[in-house]
Symmetry: C2
Subunit: 478 residues, 2 copies
Amino acid sequence: MGPVQIKQILQSTEIGQTVEVKAWVRTKRESKNAIFIALNDGSTIHNLQAVAEPGQLPDDTLRLITTGSCLRIEGTLVASQGSGQAVEVKIEHVQVYGTADPDEYPLQPKKHSLEFLREIAHLRPRTNTFSAILRVRHALAFAVHKYYNDNGFFYLHTPIITASDAEGAGEMFRVTTLDMNKPPRTEDGAIDYKEDFFGRETNLTVSGQLEGELGAMALSKIYTFGPTFRAENSNTTRHLAEFWMIEPEMAFFELKDNMDLAEDFVKSVISTALEQCADDLAFLQNRLAEEEKNKPQNERSMPLLEKLKFVVENPFERLTYTEAIDILVKSKPHKEKKFQYHVEWGIDLQSEHERYLVEKHFKKPVILTNYPRAIKAFYMKLDEDGKTVRAMDVLFPGIGEIIGGSQREENYDILLERVQEVGIEPESLWWYLETRKFGTAPHAGFGLGFERLVQFVTGMGNIRDVIPFPRFPKSAEF
Amino acid sequence: MGPVQIKQILQSTEIGQTVEVKAWVRTKRESKNAIFIALNDGSTIHNLQAVAEPGQLPDDTLRLITTGSCLRIEGTLVASQGSGQAVEVKIEHVQVYGTADPDEYPLQPKKHSLEFLREIAHLRPRTNTFSAILRVRHALAFAVHKYYNDNGFFYLHTPIITASDAEGAGEMFRVTTLDMNKPPRTEDGAIDYKEDFFGRETNLTVSGQLEGELGAMALSKIYTFGPTFRAENSNTTRHLAEFWMIEPEMAFFELKDNMDLAEDFVKSVISTALEQCADDLAFLQNRLAEEEKNKPQNERSMPLLEKLKFVVENPFERLTYTEAIDILVKSKPHKEKKFQYHVEWGIDLQSEHERYLVEKHFKKPVILTNYPRAIKAFYMKLDEDGKTVRAMDVLFPGIGEIIGGSQREENYDILLERVQEVGIEPESLWWYLETRKFGTAPHAGFGLGFERLVQFVTGMGNIRDVIPFPRFPKSAEF
């Protein structure tokens, strides 16, 4: 079904065969001896060159063949004379499906800023950079599903609209069908959510974890891969209001198993990208080098492919929060008062601290564990000392926290106490608490922000550039 | 990482080896000569039998081993004496992770109604029926991703929060961070959505199609697989407020290619389920037969596996809407005035008409095409006669419409006219219209409601039973 993809044609060795190509024009170049049309159909970063003789195509047709126009070409596959490709197509017939007026079409063959491209997100997948990112994103997403399927996990669709707040924090988007202008009210004047669609207040989920745990307590190993939401007014290069998260949850896993899985998983999907997206990653590596060429040498990133191979080939450093604080307190920037935020046991580590550990001290991904209970979520398992919890954060160079997880508190009484401690009504989590009442078991899980992973693998600095249609404050276009 | 799954242990032939099992107790049975514990960890419909000698386990432990409790068992794999399984575990040691008080735990080994189980959706994955459904659901979801990956499609994450309404119809959920109690207002008293999170009115998406088309106009073949929403007050066995949809969109595909893809795709994923979920489907087939045993013979469903094989092995019937109307007009129920709704060209086919075509007339899946323009969406390509559009609906026995799709209108002027005709502001779809201005091409796509597919494959009558945590009017529990 459908036309043969350019990716396949470029790998074909059947010189002399007739081919039909359907694709968009990237560039047209006319020389004395030939007309060269570079075609791309999005299946690969590489263009297919189609060649016509001067005068072969009617002027009316030739005029319409401009950057962005869409063509159907019939021709013969021939060995290419040029150096860029093994094969090219000798044009026999051209049909123009759709034109792209050069005076109006914004994607002319010149450099466009990422900011400008964000404003035309409906067209940017037609650029080399964004088509490469989207192909890598696809390969990573499929690798995620394949990894969990191959390892005996079940994909669980946890709800998007929810009446609970998994984190006990995080600002949420309200979901409602009430008339905003004149909402129904109870006798005492409050909004009457009983009249709302679900008969109660509902929001967009911030995490599928709590429901994921319900699945793990029945199927042993599950994972989610779905959209999650934060209504935080963060205009940064690392935050989106809508993003995709992967959350595995495993019965009978303790903290070490959880770390082993997180490390194996993230290495596995990056390996897959390296194998399957070599051309796109090479292109993105060059893009990044080009972007950074005016930076001083010591501020430039490691070449992209080298960085990815390094992560895949080296064990992550594992240490406790307490050990990390110790390293930070003894560090040069601490002694020289170069850190903006004070370091002492109990603080929530700031980006500058994480970066020091990952990029300066260990120079590799780091897994920090056993954080103080006060700075972590209520569902994390309390350590024997009562001071720390079995949390783990995986920190990546340039990205910071890419994975956050923990062993979960499986003891009913301790969990109930923690729920009350953070001010959640136990009744609102009756179903979650019941899993500790009926056949409770040690279990653990983590969350990976998919866009952070795509950022790391593609080397893109702004998270808005690794999702097709980013959602952030004051922006829901497309 | 993690324990060996029961699915693997049951296939093991290494008699005499030591095994460690972590799982939940389904039943415990004590006889004069032995204690039998049936264990399940969700990896398979089958239980693993663990056997202890009378008096071997301390009374304090034995007392805690009840239905729903969670155990760690060490033992030896031995050939089973019983007829139900090849191997069983001779218990050496038992650790109780979590108890399940028989007076409180609702899932005792007896028959529970589906209605009751819906009220304890946090526990129902621990039943045979729901664990089987969730495993089949997983296998189908993975098969979807694999099918598109293998066929050169890219997985595109289209936005969940959107300012557009793809269908030009359909009631939507509002997404907002405004204070419901005292929303900001403009000078003329209207709600001031400029103050809302995204600076405009936003809703939950009803379809990723329009954004999917943007992807297809760059990458040629994309698909989405994400949650979609309908704020319709439908309390039926076929509707959910939140459900998952698969939407492939292909440049250069016309209506026939679209039909070919839809048929090949749905057969492929059902085949995969038949191959990979044989045990679960056999269980679900028996469940359905049991459920229907009191029905008269002629009202019972075809046995589940037979039905699935039939769909996979036979070509779908393809005909136009006009031909279908002709058949209906000449049909016995029409002549005998047995149809509730009148039949004539131009009507929106009712469920009774679709069922007659699929279940009585053709006795197989049917693809209906070229519907009247007035009853279909604005983006469908107009036929030459100006009266019909290149729509297609795939109708399945017992389910009705499982796939809806069309070739898309790629002509800018016609599309603009259609947009205005249905009363949409062209400015609100400027980005969609621009794809027809810049390099437009013939293209097509369709949507498959994932839960409808899971219903068909599992034979479950109520759509609320094929998604872990269903969302419907007045219900957003868990």
